[in-house]
Structure formats: structure tokens, C-alpha cells
Amino acid sequence: MVKRLNNHFSQNIGDLIFEKLTLLFAVSVFLLVILMGYEMYLGSKISIQKFGFSFLFNSSWDPVQEVYGALPIIYGTVVSSILSLLIAVPLSIGVAIFLAEVAPSWLEKPVSFLVELLAGIPSVIYGLWGIFVLVPWLRNSFEPWLADKFGYLPFFRGAPYGFGMLAAVMILTIMLLPIISSISRDVLKAVPRSRREAALALGATKWQSTLIVLKDAKSGILGASMLGLGRAIGETMAVTMVIGNRSLISTSLFDPSYTMASVIANEFTEATSQMYLSSLIELALVLFIITIIINAFARILVWSMSRKWSAA
């Protein structure tokens, strides 16, 4: 009896320590985010005081005159990320469906392995491939063809240099594909087998049962896409190598553009003046906030969808 009590007591202590310790870890993540935001705010104070909201809406980034406006850079970041996501998501879902539902296992294993391998390639390698393979192909074949067939659209006008928004979008698409498809495949595989069997037993075709599985996995696939979007927004090296690096707002995908992560990476080392440094840190702060907004948005979307599902 005494022994049991003792045991009970020491177990309680252990549980208590465990609980507090894990709580500390959890809280420290939260604190870290706040601290990061606060430090970036402190670092960018001079620039925030001088430019206010015009930092977000002014379109001239001029280190010589010390005038910093981030609009074209924010535009470049958002457009390149969203366009690449729009292309990557359907392709990835296709890959995931094939791997989880259609492919025989002797094919599924090696293909899944290759997809995961793609996710592990460093981005500078993608960038080099972009410079030496993708960009010449865009310049000599794809962009002239686009201009020829769809030149009446404002998206495909101007001189086809190869370097520019289109190259960045395509590189990002290739980089997002393995991330989104490998997570989506896992999500699809997690849907209980009984759902498929039930559908088939009720006389559903393969396609109809796959649709049901897809509906079950919707929130997971959405989460995978948001992870991909996070990667696209923060991607620096591969993008800066092909995007053309000029702060410019243009409807044409052939024109050069710039992203926030690239500007910071490019200009931080040689930023000599306090205002310049401060503006670069403010840019980081804006990137930080945009990332938080997008993640929050994704959470809400996932949450509302899963609620709808459980209600139905």
C-alpha cells in the first residue's frame, strides 16, 4: 500500500515536471515569434517613422536618394508565389492520386522515392538549372511561341529575354511540386480503406471512389498547398537567379521582377547607411507579416472545411 502510494506520488511529480517542461517549450515558440517581430520592428523603426505607410504603396526603391517603396517587390513576391501555386497544386494532386490510388506498388515505391528526392535538392541547384536550361529554352522556344499564339493578351508582351517573372514562376512550380505531392499522397493514404471499399461496394466506379477519398483528404491537401506557398514566398536563391531582379510592376510575365527575400539577400551586405539597413529590415518585417497572414488564412480555411465535413 505504502509502496503504491509512493509510486503514485513520484509519478505525479514526473507528470508535473513533464507538463511544465513541455508547456515551457510550447510557450517559447510563441515568445520566439513575438520576439522576432519586435526586434524587426525595432530595427525598422527609423524607416517606419520616415516613410509610414508610403513604404507599402510607393513604387520606387532608390538607395541613392534614400527613398524606399516596396510595392513592386511585394507585388513580385505575391504574384510569383500565387501563380506557381496555381500551377503546382493541380499537378501535385494528380501525382498524389496516381501514387496513392492508381499506381501498382512496384511503380509507386520508386516514384515516391524520386518525388521525395526532388524535395531535398538545394535551391541553388534549381537556380543553376534555371539559368542554363530553363531560361534558354524559354527565350528561344517557349516565350516566342507564347507571344506568337497569345500575344493579344497583356501577359505575354514585350521582348522574350528568358529571365523574368515566367522563369521564376516555373522554377517555383517545380520546387513546390514534390512538397505538395508527397504530403498529399500521405494524406490520401491516411484515408481509411473502408471508405474506398464501401464506395466500391455501393457500385461506385474507381473515379467516383477516388472523388470520395479526395473529399475526405481536402483539408490535408489544402494544408500541403499552404506549406508549399510558404516555401514559394520565402524562396530566395533560385528565384533571384532567374527573375531578373528589377523592382517593376508589369502585367507581362516576360518582364523582370523582384521578390522581398531576393532584395534582402542581394542588398543586405552592402547596405552602408542606417536608413537603408532599416528599410531592408522593414521589408523583412513585411514578409514576416504576410507569411503570418497567409498561414492564419490557411488555418481558418482548413478549420472551416473540416467543420463543414464533420457537420455533413
Binding site: P63, P256, N266, E270, A271
Partner: protein, 346 residues
């Protein structure tokens, strides 16, 4: 003060902690990093004194010398008056600019059917980079190159996307020769380019130029020579088209040394002299005029003197342009001004 700033100041401390013996720590420009690491290596072999250099960029070099976290800084562009007075109020001593080697900027191009020897002048360059000249067979360029067969092809302008001393020298030249450039764009390590594509680093710009027909860009002389890229002869102040070579860059420094300001913070773009190549500049080491630690001061002075004599001989092998004798003399005068706690160093 923000955390990045503080963390960046810590970088040199780590290296200090790992070695107990006297060693010098410096940070700054990336352009001279190759020759500097060669120098520090050779110098350690002959004297045993360790010098630790981190090429984190000119901006970082200037910030850290102002904060006093390093023994010396390095920069491709001179410090501004405001930065100098900042340093004086924080460190209680002036900062000396010591030129170490020179770099030149060449204008490289990729025009189908045209090898070396395109002629360009200041107006052609500024008009190309402002975006006024858009075709290679523009009458103005044709007039400069009566013998070349220039194609009817669009000019694609390439520039650096990362902040760089190369960009500083190039835009400094354009600002000197074109008042329009000076008022609209100006000089700096990064500027707001009116046209063109940005490539990261010398290799990024060279890659753009190599790959794209009809392109023009600017890169370091050393980079262009090593990679065998065709580059243009530029018309200098005296009206001669000058090919960028070690001797024409050296000639520019010699011509500029006649009217050198005493603090050696000088741009030597667009210099006088028949044989001077017009787009070149110094890279500087930034040192405190009065150092607090006598052992360190002695080591630094000895190193600087060594760099001005033996060190210069190593420059050409690594494709840096050595300083001409007239500039070395001025540098040695500067080095002799360094003191430790107000006392002269023997």
C-alpha cells in the same frame, strides 16, 4: 539596436575566442577577399601573426569599424563624412583610408558577329544604361565604330542585382560624365536602374551577357580576363579609346595621384591622361588612426607596410591591379600616422 545588428557584431568575437595569441580581426568588402586571404596567409607564414578576415560586404565593414568590434575594416567605397564623424564620436579617433589594390570595371557585350574591340564613349554608355539607345545599329554607336558591322538588334542591359563596389565604380563614372545620370540615378553600391535585368554577382552578369545575344553588362576586369569575355574600349577624357589592361588602369591611378586629397578618399573614374582607362577605383582598408592596444597596432602597421611592398607583387597573379609607386608613397605616409595610445609606432 536590433538583434541582427548585435549578432553581426559578435561574429569576429568567435574567432577571438578560439585563439589565445595576438591576432588581428577585420571584416568588409568581398571584392578584395581573394588577395587579402592570400596576403594574410603569406604574412602568417613569414611572421606568425594571424589576421582573420571575414568578407561580409563593405556595409558590414564600415558598420563594424564604427562600432569598434574589429581591428580594421575594408570597403570598396570610401566612408561618408557622416560615418567618419560617427566613428570619431564613438571610438574617439579618426579613421584612415588606405588603398590596397585597384579594380577596374569593363563593359562586356555579346553581339553576334563581333569579337573584341567595340568602341564606346561616355555618352553611349549613359544613353544605353538610361535606355535611350535601344538598338545596336543606333547612329551614335555606328559613328563610334565605323568599321564594325553592327546588327539591327535590341540592346539588352545587364547590371548587378546585389550591392557591390563594382556597381559603385561604374555608377560613379556615369555620374561624373552625365549630369542627367547624376541627378536622376546617382552613384551607389545599389541604384534604381531605369532599364535592364539584374544578375547576382560578376558571374550572374557575365552569365546574362554570355547567354543573351545583343546584351551588354559590366563586370570586374579580373573576372572578364579569367573568363575570356569580349569587352569594349572606352573613350577617355583625352579622347582616346582605351582597352582596359593592368597598365591602363595603373595609368589612371598615376594620373589621379597628382591631385590626390590628403585623406585618400578619392574616386579615380574619368581621370586625365592619354593612356588612362576611365572606369576604375581603389579598394580600401579602414584603420583607426589611434589604436588602444600597442601590440595590435604594431602588428597592423607592420602588415600594412608589408602589403605595400611584398604584397603588391602578389596582386597581379590574382588579377588585381597593383598600386602605382606614387600612390604607394602616399599610403606609406598614411600608415606612418598610426599611433598606439597617442605614441608613434617604431
Amino acid at each position: 539596436m536590433n538583434i541582427f545588428y548585435r549578432l553581426s557584431l559578435l561574429i569576429p568575437l568567435f574567432s577571438l575566442l578560439t585563439h589565445a595569441q595576438v591576432q588581428l580581426v577585420g571584416t568588409g568588402a568581398t571584392f578584395p577577399a581573394v588577395i587579402y586571404s592570400k596576403w594574410f596567409d603569406e604574412y602568417r607564414n613569414t611572421t606568425g601573426i594571424q589576421i582573420n578576415y571575414q568578407p561580409i560586404g563593405s556595409g558590414g565593414g564600415i558598420r563594424q569599424i564604427i562600432e569598434g568590434t574589429v581591428d580594421f575594416g575594408a570597403s570598396d567605397g570610401p566612408m561618408t563624412d557622416r560615418q567618419l564623424s560617427d566613428a570619431k564620436s564613438k571610438q574617439g579617433t579618426g579613421i584612415l583610408h588606405i588603398p590596397t589594390v585597384m579594380g577596374a570595371v569593363v563593359v562586356c557585350y555579346h553581339i553576334p558577329g563581333l569579337g573584341k574591340g567595340l568602341n564606346l564613349d561616355s555618352r553611349a554608355l549613359s544613353d544605353i544604361y538610361i535606355g535611350r539607345i535601344t538598338m545596336w545599329d543606333d547612329p551614335y554607336i555606328k559613328n563610334l565604330n565605323p568599321e564594325s558591322n553592327l546588327p539591327h538588334r535590341a540592346v539588352l542591359v545587364a547590371h548587378r542585382s546585389d550591392g557591390s563596389g563594382t556597381t559603385f565604380i561604374f555608377t560613379d563614372y556615369l555620374s561624373k560624365i552625365s549630369s542627367e545620370w547624376a541627378s536622376k540615378i546617382g552613384r551607389g553600391t545599389s541604384v534604381n536602374w531605369p532599364v535592364g535585368l539584374g544578375g547576382k554577382g560578376n558571374d550572374g552578369v557575365a552569365g546574362l551577357v554570355k547567354q543573351t545575344e545583343g546584351s551588354v553588362g559590366y563586370v570586374e576586369l579580373a573576372y572578364a580576363i579569367k573568363n575570356n569575355i569580349p569587352y569594349a574600349d572606352i573613350k577617355n577624357q583625352s579622347g582616346y579609346f582605351i582597352e582596359p589592361t593592368f597598365s591602363s588602369v595603373s595609368a589612371a591611378a598615376m594620373a589621379a595621384s597628382v591631385n590626390m586629397p590628403s585623406d585618400l578618399r578619392v574616386s579615380i573614374t574619368d581621370p586625365p591622361g592619354k593612356g588612362s582607362y576611365p572606369i576604375s577605383g581603389f579598394t580600401w582598408l579602414l584603420v583607426y588612426q589611434n589604436m588602444k592596444n600597442e601590440t595590435k597596432a604594431k602588428a597592423l602597421v607592420n602588415f600594412l607596410k608589408w602589403a605595400m611592398s611584398r604584397g603588391q607583387a602578389l596582386a597581379a597573379g590574382l588579377y588585381y591591379v597593383p598600386l602605382p609607386a606614387s600612390i604607394i608613397k602616399l599610403c606609406n605616409n598614411k600608415i606612418n600616422l598610426i599611433t598606439a595610445n597617442g605614441k608613434k609606432i617604431k
